[in-house]
């Protein structure tokens, strides 16, 4: 068993295994830090959603908790004005490119974006920023699930599971900048691709981008 170190998160003193990733340590202790792209089993963090900011004593600027290993005496704050501001902006940016209208979403009440909004007191609508979303059609070709790119936040959890857990490699990120998206090779519909429709990607999607068809029916039904 690895050595325990003492750290404090928001004045709460904790004994945790040395070298663990701060984000998981905090979550294990019931301290919520917003996050979307983090995967516990991943070898290296994607660090792409830019939500899990914290301030650590001795480091001048806020850092992402998913890229920090805990060490003896680490003093962490999850809520400071600078952290709150970065989280708010990142969250609003994600919303600006996300299909809003939670009532019609299969993930309504079970969505990570809703959770972040609730925990941090943020609104689920755009106030400062402009909507950037260009609506594209959903992929309903798989038997059991639907892929709605308009709700995708590019966290990459589906891609990771597809590559490293079920070892299929049907989906990946393509293109750059605003064009970046999750797609199959050759941008085939999922039903026509090498996707085995195992559904593991749907289980890890934190938002309503990947959802089982039965969820959609429930949602439509009421």
């Amino acid at each position: 068993m690895s050595k325990l170190v003492t750290i404090t998160i928001d004045d709460k003193e904790l004994k945790v295994p040395e070298g663990e990733i701060l984000l998981w340590v905090a979550l294990n202790q019931g301290i919520y830090i917003p996050h979307l792209c983090g995967i516990r089993e991943a070898e290296r963090p994607a660090a792409s959603c830019r939500l899990c900011f914290v301030e650590i004593e001795g480091i001048p600027n806020p850092v992402t908790a998913c890229t920090q290993s805990v060490r003896e005496g680490m003093k962490v704050r999850t809520r400071t004005p600078r952290v709150d501001r970065l989280v708010r902006t990142a969250f609003e940016l994600l919303l600006s490119n996300h299909s809003l209208g939670c009532a019609k979403c299969p993930k309504n009440r079970n969505c990570e974006l809703q959770r972040i909004a609730k925990e941090r007191g943020l609104k689920l609508k755009l106030t400062r920023l402009r909507p950037l979303l260009k609506e594209v059609s959903k992929d309903e070709t798989p038997d059991a699930f639907i892929f709605d790119p308009n709700r995708c936040v590019l966290c990459g959890r589906c891609v990771w599971v597809d590559h490293f857990q079920v070892n299929v490699g049907a989906i990946g990120f393509i293109r750059r900048g605003m064009e970046r998206k999750v797609a199959t090779f050759g941008e085939l519909k999922l039903g026509e691709s090498r996707c085995t429709q195992c559904g593991e990607c749907v289980k890890v999607c934190p938002v309503g981008a990947l959802s089982f068809k039965e969820q959609n029916q429930e949602c439509r039904g009421g």
Partner: protein, 636 residues
């Protein structure tokens, strides 16, 4: 195996023998080729063979005077070596007949002599020459980049031969002592990077030369690879020896085909001479270099994205740490240095850390290489000691602003640098001062802007570049820069809102603090600096619907000043592609504003003695001109 001394002695003899007969050097780097150097080369070739002259013709790289390309240097025994430019085919045949055959050096075409003499000034007699202090550009344009002997004759590979007898730690110590800072942009101390990599556990280790130059207006790395490729190879080999690497890469853009070709030739020649490959110069050290051609994504200049690209993945950055020096290519310790950084290395080894520190400023020793572009008279490459001011660089080295326009700003450090105004002209150029002013050293792009440049549009232009080049992995860079770009676009179209400036500032700060890699962290700089120094221009766009520089098309209209217009001239009518200009009943010309597409043709066409076409901002509303239109219709 030939000893280095023997090799160098022979090269020197060969080099000196070359000068015994007339020798013509034509600059055929990309800048020269764009200006027609290959035709000039062919013209010399034809003329020399037609006259059956015993003269030699060689291709060289770029001397940095890109504004005067194609450039030609002629060595003729009995005359000082003379530099000519811009040379065309006719001038080429004149030079052969008048100078090579008849001993008239055609001083009227010459720019400068290369050596002091009694007939013609040298480069150091011009203001530019006073400020310039060439180290890594010294041989560019003077030696044949495809002949290793010419590099050897200029003490090339001497530093490599020397380090092979040194302890690698001593080599690192020398570079550390020199305080050389990385010339790719961030200015991280090179010696410390090498030391970290040397101390990092893991084998094999790698060295990579970063030649993924992508800034708009920057061409220093390309010019160095095209003009003196061996200098970079020698620096890379020394870096490899210092950290114990046996494999190196040159990551160069595929859109630099000439650079790739000349580096390939250089690699081949270095291997043939035993300066690369197995047991270099007969010793224990083995090292070779591969060229990796990148497909031209700006973000691939970022170290971790560059590594991903070589590994065969998409060029997308990863979180640092771990830094490449401890875990880089294939997870092994890797040193990544810019072309310029590596080019300094042989000079520092040969002349010592103290010599290097005697140039420049205490915290930024050495020289800075800038690509002067934009509205500056003498565009090209300049190498000046750190601490030279922007004013000296623009007005003395660059010879001021084109067409007697008024200086407005410099965009320094590439798309992620900043725009500095006239009040910043006396800032000494070094890593720290520029950063304080809100800009950065960057890789050395310097775009000069004049009174006709709108700073909001300039900020929009650079942000458009970085936004398109963003890899899209992280939220702030992908969506934040897009939000900023949309706001800027609205402002340049006269649709800006009062609160937009504050929102831009807020977003800019968050993107800087929140982005994953250097591209996002620096992308807002042009916006931040233009708001800081040119806020009044933003306000004029938003509050008055006016573009003070008369650049933003949506905020201007064209107008023909009746008092200046000549009744006898129809040039503007002929120039207009959409027939928007008409003749009024009084024979003066006027513009249908609803037809005008603001192409600027009439303004260019209007003869200089009239200058009757002007731009008006805020734009004139249509009604006023409807009357004219009707009047002219009635007239028909």
């Amino acid at each position: 195996m030939q000893s280095y001394q023997q090799m160098q002695k022979e090269a020197l003899q060969k080099f000196e023998a070359l000068r015994e007969k007339p020798l013509v050097l034509v600059g055929t780097a990309t800048c020269g080729r764009a200006a027609g150097a290959l035709n000039v080369l062919a013209a010399f070739q034809n003329e020399i063979s037609r006259n059956q002259l015993d003269a030699r013709l060689r291709e060289v790289g770029c001397m940095g005077h890109c504004y005067a390309e194609p450039m030609v240097i002629i060595y003729k025994p009995g005359f000082p070596p003379l530099c000519y430019g811009p040379v065309d085919e006719g001038m080429a045949s004149r030079l052969v007949v008048d100078f090579l055959i008849n001993d008239d050096p055609c001083f009227e075409f010459a720019i400068a002599a290369l050596e002091p003499n009694d007939f013609f000034p040298t480069f150091s007699d011009y203001p530019r020459g006073i400020y310039e202090n060439k180290i890594i550009l010294a041989d560019c344009g003077l030696i044949d980049p495809e002949d290793i002997d010419q590099y050897l004759a200029h003490d090339g590979y001497e530093a490599l031969a020397r380090v092979l007898n040194m302890d690698p730690v001593a080599v690192i110590e020398e570079i550390k002592n020199s305080k050389l800072r990385g010339r790719g942009g961030a200015g991280f101390p090179t010696g410390i990077k090498w030391e970290t990599c040397n101390n990092a556990p893991g084998a094999p280790k790698y060295v990579i030369c970063n030649a993924d130059e992508g800034d708009p207006g920057a061409f220093m790395d390309r010019a160095l690879l095209e003009s003196n490729p061996h200098q970079v190879l020698e620096g890379l080999a020394i870096a490899a020896y210092a950290i114990g690497a046996s494999q190196g890469y040159i990551y160069v853009r595929a859109e630099y085909p000439l650079a790739v070709a000349r580096v390939q030739t250089a690699l081949k020649q270095a291997r043939e001479r035993g300066l690369l490959g197995e047991s270099i110069l007969g010793g224990d050290f083995s090292f070779d270099i591969k060229i990796f051609q990148g497909s031209g994504a700006f973000v691939c200049g970022e170290e971790t994205a560059l590594i991903a690209s070589i590994e065969g993945s998409a060029g997308v950055p990863n979180n640092r740490p771990p830094y490449p020096a401890t875990s880089g290519l294939r997870g092994k310790p890797t040193v990544i240095n810019n072309v310029k950084t590596l080019s300094y290395v042989p000079h520092i080894i040969r002349q010592g850390a103290d010599w290097f520190k005697s140039i420049g400023t205490p915290n930024s020793p050495g020289t800075a290489v800038f690509a002067l572009a934009g509205k500056v008279s003498n565009t090209g490459l300049a190498e000046v000691p750190m601490g030279t001011t922007i004013r000296q660089l623009v007005f003395d080295v660059g010879n001021g602003i084109k067409n007697d326009k008024k200086f407005k700003a410099v965009q320094i450090g590439g798309p992620s640098g900043g725009c500095l105004p006239e009040s910043a002209l006396d800032i000494p150029i070094d890593f720290d001062s520029l950063q304080q002013a809100g800009a950065m050293m960057g890789s050395g792009g310097l775009v000069v802007l004049d009174e006709d440049d709108c700073m909001v549009e300039i900020a929009r232009f650079f942000l458009d570049f970085t936004q398109k080049e963003s890899c899209g992995k992280c939220t702030f860079c992908r969506l934040g820069t897009k939000q900023m770009l949309d706001i800027l676009t609205d402002i340049t179209r006269g649709q800006g809102k009062q609160e937009d400036i504050e929102l831009l500032l807020e977003l800019a700060e968050d993107i800087k603090a929140g982005s994953l890699c250097g591209l996002g962290k620096t992308a807002p700089n042009p916006v931040l600096t233009t708001i800081r120094y040119f806020r009044d221009e933003y306000e004029a766009h938003i509050q008055e619907g006016r573009c003070p520089a008369l650049m933003c098309k949506d905020l201007i209209t064209y107008y023909i000043v009746p008092e200046k217009c000549s009744k006898l001239c129809n040039v503007c009518i002929g120039s207009c592609p959409v027939e928007a200009i008409f003749t009024r009943p009084d024979m003066l010309k006027a513009i249908y504003l609803d037809k005008c597409v603001k192409c600027n043709s009439c303004m260019v066409a209007c003869p200089p003695q009239y200058q009757a076409v002007i731009k008006i901002s805020p734009p004139v509303v249509e009604e006023g001109d409807k009357a004219d239109e009707q009047a002219s219709d009635n007239n028909h």
